[in-house]
Symmetry: C2
Subunit: 130 residues, 2 copies
Amino acid sequence: MADKPTPRPTDAELAILRVLWERGPSTVREVHDALSSSQETGYTTVLKLLQIMTDKGIVVRDESQRAHIYASSESEQRTQRRLIGDLMDRAFGGSPSKLVMQALSATKASADELTAIRRLLDEQIEGDAK
Amino acid sequence: MADKPTPRPTDAELAILRVLWERGPSTVREVHDALSSSQETGYTTVLKLLQIMTDKGIVVRDESQRAHIYASSESEQRTQRRLIGDLMDRAFGGSPSKLVMQALSATKASADELTAIRRLLDEQIEGDAK
DNA sequence: TCCAACATACGAAATCTTTCGTTGACGTTA
DNA sequence: TAACGTCAACGAAAGATTTCGTATGTTGGA
């Protein structure tokens, strides 16, 4: 019964994950408060989502205190990479370069960002050539 | 009653869109056959999906023949950019460079692909500098 | 003409997602 | 100790997604 890899988070789940990534391990109330600044959400809605996410293995829960503490079970980077890989397969026929190119032309990246990307790219090419 | 922008396609819808992008305008049977090579899907399932997609405005339908002909209402590029923008907002806090960087490190892009990406990047920087 | 093949339409079931009301447990404090 | 605020648990409802069975209409040949 091989543990399934954690499933792709839904929209509402992703919003919660972003809070957990930014704040670190948090209680339901803390997540709810953070979320409320940008969107209207009921407290029990956030609680239910976190319970579901626990069942799915997307987050882990520390129950040693009365107010349980939730944390993302996967790093931000790892989740983001999985989401990108997913999108690449589903919408770009598995082509990384097509995805990156669309990403570049889809967004108004600033000059600074572009040069930062280029630096990363150069490193990548370096590594390959080696 | 401003026409809503076409909604984000679901997984099953995206699989169909990919067929339409590759084949061009197609009948239900053609889409179904193309899809069947990679996954098991009932004919009426594909038909129903295409009907729903028509309602949503994701595809357009030419009913002048007995076998209706469906086509994507949006270009492949435009849809892909929208999906990337979506993911950027939902998972990357709206940062294009973070997304591109993760995309680069998430995938094993070939050397050829890397240089192609770099060429595009250079053009982008050129344009900006101007 | 009549039938087999193929087409769309329709409805419904199964599942997943999102939301929230209610309940009961637990602590704090007046 | 009794009342109040906070907490997790649970269930249920509403909507979206996916799948497919069945009904019904059309067409091209035998």
